[in-house]
Symmetry: C2
Subunit: 351 residues, 2 copies
């Protein structure tokens, strides 16, 4: 794999003629060198017919469907991290935002802001990560853009992705009620902990990786079971604590978590302890919070645990009759504590 | 208008409580302060029901239509320039990319990458510019994102917009043929010249402004006349010379321009002369190149000149029988010169 890629890189650079291995301002001016960069880097990896003749706008036939539409910009630091890179994150992030609406991806856009001097070899690796996820999921890059800014005017590379997805006919989100159950699809905080490990020298040896992954497989896997799902949210910035607080506030309902059931890897807990950050507040990039109608939690859980992306899924709590939008957690030692939304204490550039 | 805005600003800042007037890293962490920023800046201006409860994905019912989809990131420097700012440019740029596909905007996304320390008052002005264009055009911001990076990791503010538009039933783009005519909808290079004036101290006093404007009015205005249009392109980075070279290369046809007919304001010419840049290569952000079937140029021209956005429209040339994808120009003094695509000589951060 590495070998094939490095051969491709060499041949790509060769074709570029005068293009050296660093991004120059002229790669972003819309002229000959921009076209070469697009041809030799982007088209080399986004190699399906859609993207070979990328016009200013991509036109497609809409059917009588519900479509979901989303956007996210990615500024993660570092750009390469254990378990992924900014490219994989950008595609997964947008696919996961579509998944929260019960949608699987149809078309994506990819827009790059690149700092002068950025390595073209690294850009190849990042674009290849993006195309790998597209291939796995069937998402297609339909439109894109490239801008270059002077050295010192950006931090390497920022990527924006937007996406259009088709909403499953089975998904009809509805009002949450007391007794509705909350599932998380896997171990929490692994993305946030991985970024911290790679950003700061914590002296921890571990094979922990970011959970960064596309959650459209969950939507396909849920199938008809989506009719038991009342809402979904991907717990990215601020982790499950922030995402659940947002849900509780919107729904004006309290909820209670059971600490014993929340899946946290020991390495994530250790990193959290070391830095004084509760794993509940650490970002996930390949997990989903699923609110399931009362009494259907076990059924849905059993069904999704057969999916690769949900093997560690658990029911972690349920909504209660309080109307304050508060989150309580039964702790391991039998206590009960409030899980607040944090103010100004979270981590920058986690995604 | 200014007064209303400044009152709104004061009240906005007041509501923000502890929020001071500069962007902090915590405004981008996805927690309480991000929510406050969204509520007090974005929702204050994007004030239609769509954006009041911006979920991770926006869901809409598609009809049996052709939809156009596009994206662009904006890194223009300076952020405020004569005739506009990065916000107006971002909305117009995406609307204009949709227009090239014969589409009028339905939904837009808006994603912000903000440098720590950026003025919240300036952000208000920029978001207001965006919402002004949305109001004028009927475009709706359906989804958005905000990221903040540390001081020195970006240059103030970058904006990405993507857009979904409905393609006019009258627009069926087709193969260009010799004799087909080329219309430009107004004076060229005014955006590029304005940016240069504001970026460098050229010591020129002029009321020249960027032509930055939304071209969806052209699509509506063309109406049934769109059936005579074979293709459209907005001449942004690299100006009409670059856009026409791309068309000529794609269509494998030569074309001939008539310098006498190309609308260039004297100030644009003067700025170009001073800096050694041909106005043909200076960006427009509110103009369209329209290729019209042979013999229909005058009819279409007459029709669009009634539109505010096209009063200075002209037929500037036509395709010829050569198949080299070359552009020739009959010059003012009766000569004939090639207009090449430039390599590595264009201006960075014009949009």
């Amino acid at each position: 794999m590495q070998h094939t890629l490095s051969m491709k890189l060499t041949s790509g650079l060769g074709e570029m003629g005068e293009m050296d291995e660093k991004i120059r301002l002229s790669h972003g001016d819309g002229g000959v060198e921009t076209q070469r960069l697009i041809k030799n880097v982007f088209y080399q990896h986004f190699n399906d017919p859609l993207s070979k003749s990328m016009p200013d706008s991509f036109v497609f036939e809409a059917r009588q469907n519900q479509l979901a539409y989303t956007t996210d910009s990615f500024v993660v630091k570092p750009i390469f991290f254990r378990g992924g890179d900014i490219g994989k994150l950008a595609i997964c992030g947008t696919i996961n935002d579509l998944a929260t609406a019960g949608a699987t991806p149809l078309f994506l856009s990819a827009s790059f802001i690149i700092e002068e001097g950025f390595s073209i070899e690294k850009l190849h690796l990042i674009v290849k990560s993006m195309s790998d996820i597209c291939r796995q999921t069937g998402a297609k890059i339909a439109t894109g853009d490239t801008k270059v800014v002077e050295r010192g005017s950006a931090d390497g590379l920022f990527i924006n992705t937007s996406g259009i997805g088709i909403v499953s006919e089975y998904y009809k989100p509805s009002q949450v009620e007391p007794g509705d159950e909350i599932i998380v699809t896997g171990g929490i905080g692994e993305h946030g902990a991985s970024i911290l490990l790679d950003r700061y020298d914590l002296g921890i040896e571990t094979d922990l990786e970011s959970d960064c992954a596309p959650m459209c497989f969950l939507i396909n896997g849920l199938g008809e079971n989506l009719k038991h799902v009342k809402l979904m949210k991907d717990p990215t910035r601020g982790g499950i604590a922030t995402a659940l607080n947002e849900i509780a506030a919107e729904q004006k309902l309290d909820l209670e978590l059971d600490e014993r059931t929340i899946p946290v890897k020991s390495e994530v807990q250790a990193i959290g302890d070391m830095l004084g950050i509760d794993p509940l507040y650490l970002a996930c990039e390949g997990r989903m919070l699923i609110v399931v109608e009362k009494g259907c939690g076990e059924k849905v859980l059993h069904h999704i645990k057969a999916l690769d992306c949900c093997r560690e899924a658990r029911i972690i709590g349920q909504f209660t009759s309080g109307h304050h939008g508060m989150i309580y957690m039964k702790t391991l030692i039998g206590g009960r504590r409030i899980i607040p939304i944090l103010e100004g204490q979270m981590l920058p550039r986690i995604c």
